[in-house]
């Protein structure tokens, strides 16, 4: 497992080449899944430690579910998109490439975990924790994207393939994360539930609502609740 982690971080192109050639992909896939689980569990635990208690376990489990769930939904899409754009790969190479990209992403999260945990331990406010988590996700995403680009090679329609797939991935991942929120937790509540009780529609709908409010701010937006906001901005912001 450590060998694969080293290869993913130091020579991802080599791993991607093995995956494309369907060469020894079963152990690669098994180790990649293990990396995804470990990375998201630890990172989720660190995120949940801002509130502490059972939120540590909740956030760890939910971030792992988001990661794996997004991959489960996006793997067939990736297979189809690559085929449409001139790369008719077999299923195993397509899945293994997705998995190693996910593993690389998770390894970055794992690397960022001590930093996030330290910040929380030093009393970082909610917004800082949120930004640090977002930054870790962005770094992980860039690392995974780089591997994906290497895996696709310099063939035709590389950019189109990646653009379409990233669009699908962001939509699915965003919705999965939205459904399973909250992760950091709300200190105003005695106990944070596993799932949020707020009914605000999907992530796409909320994006639409926010955009509409920006363009024409006219009272409460459709679908928005007058209940307390889900974030804890007010609670800890100066």
């Amino acid at each position: 497992m450590i060998t694969l982690f080293n290869r993913l971080l130091r020579s991802p192109a080599e791993v991607a080449k093995d995956c494309r050639a369907d060469k020894g992909v079963a152990p690669i896939a098994a180790n990649a899944i293990a990396a995804i689980v470990v990375g998201t569990l630890f990172f989720g635990g660190a995120v949940g430690s801002w509130q502490g208690g059972r939120q540590i376990a909740f956030a760890a489990i939910k971030l792992t579910l988001v990661g794996l769930g997004t991959l489960v939904v996006c793997v067939p899409a990736f297979h189809a998109i690559t085929a449409v754009f001139g790369r008719p790969w077999a299923l195993r190479p397509a899945i293994s490439i997705m998995l190693i990209a996910g593993a690389r992403f998770s390894l970055i999260l794992l690397a960022a975990t001590p930093v996030l945990w330290l910040a929380i331990n030093l009393g970082a406010p909610y917004h800082l924790v949120k930004l640090l988590a977002a930054l870790a996700y962005a770094l992980g995403g860039l690392a995974a994207l780089g591997l994906l680009l290497r895996s696709l090679g310099k063939g035709r329609d590389q950019l189109a393939t990646v653009t379409v797939f990233v669009g699908v991935f962001l939509l699915v991942g965003g919705q999965a994360a939205w459904v399973l929120r909250p992760y950091i937790g709300d200190p105003r509540h005695g106990t944070t539930p596993f799932f949020t009780n707020e009914r605000e529609g999907g992530v796409a709908y909320q994006l639409y609502v926010s955009a509409r409010q920006l363009v024409a701010p006219t009272g409460p937006a459709p679908g928005s609740q007058t209940t307390a906001p889900s974030s804890v901005d007010e609670a800890r912001s100066p």
């Binding site: 694969l4 290869r7 020894g24 079963a26 152990p27 098994a30 991959l71 067939p76 195993r92 899945i95």
Partner: protein, 226 residues
């Protein structure tokens, strides 16, 4: 279809895949159980790997296919010469001897395939170990041992691949022999060409047997026994 229905369907497919994984695994050990358990929630990600044919099994089925081709070609050839003067060139006795030799070679190939499937006989794993040792600056002795192990695995792999190819070539040659004998029977041509092919078949069988005998003597691919 509600989310609950969808999840139920997902779970049912996962359980079905897990059963298939268990039935397909050669041994009911902890590894197989873990693989089956992982298949239930992650079947879209893991089932294609867990249900993929093991390399050894694939290789065995390849050898079995070639052996079946050879047996058919031999049977057709014997039938073609039956009751003709050409039966001296290719008698049922010769066909039986060739078949026995081919079966022996195929069995050896199966053994090599099974060996390659076992832990510790994987060229990819040995390459990974070598890379790891080199990257983390392992001692010269450890790197040299890992390199020797990797080279041995590669030689075993090459030997097996070469003999698989040789068996396929033999099958093609026997199919040519069958055609020659049929031609001689129905066109009344001379069986001289067929006689030459029979000689070539024996030469190739001897070549295959010699390669395996060297391996059986404990010096596979030029690697001296420990």
């Amino acid at each position: 279809m509600s989310l609950r229905d969808l999840l139920l369907l997902y779970g049912i497919i996962g359980i079905a895949c897990a059963i298939a994984v268990l039935r397909r695994s050669p041994a009911r050990n902890l590894r197989a159980m873990a693989s089956a358990a992982a298949t239930i929630p992650l079947w879209p990600l893991w089932a294609p790997f867990a249900l993929g044919a093991p390399r050894a099994a694939r290789s065995r089925s390849g050898a079995a296919t070639t052996t079946a081709r050879i047996d058919k070609a031999l049977a057709d050839a014997v039938e073609a010469v039956a009751g003709t003067p050409m039966s001296d060139v290719f008698s049922p006795k010769i066909a039986t001897r060739i078949s026995a030799e081919v079966l022996r070679v195929a069995a050896r190939l199966d053994e090599l395939g099974a060996l390659a499937a076992e832990a510790g006989f994987d060229a990819e794993a040995s390459a990974g170990k070598l890379r790891e040792l080199e990257s983390r600056g392992g001692s010269d002795r450890a790197v040299a041992t890992a390199r020797l192990q990797h080279e041995s695995m590669l030689r075993l792999q090459q030997l097996r691949a070469a003999d698989e190819r040789a068996l396929v070539d033999l099958a093609e040659l026997l199919e040519v022999l069958r055609s020659q004998l049929l031609l001689a029977r129905y066109a009344g041509s001379s069986a001289e060409g067929a006689g030459a092919i029979v000689g070539e078949v024996w030469a190739r069988l001897e070549g295959l047997g010699a390669a395996f005998d060297v391996g059986a003597g404990g010096a596979v691919g030029g690697i001296p026994p420990a």
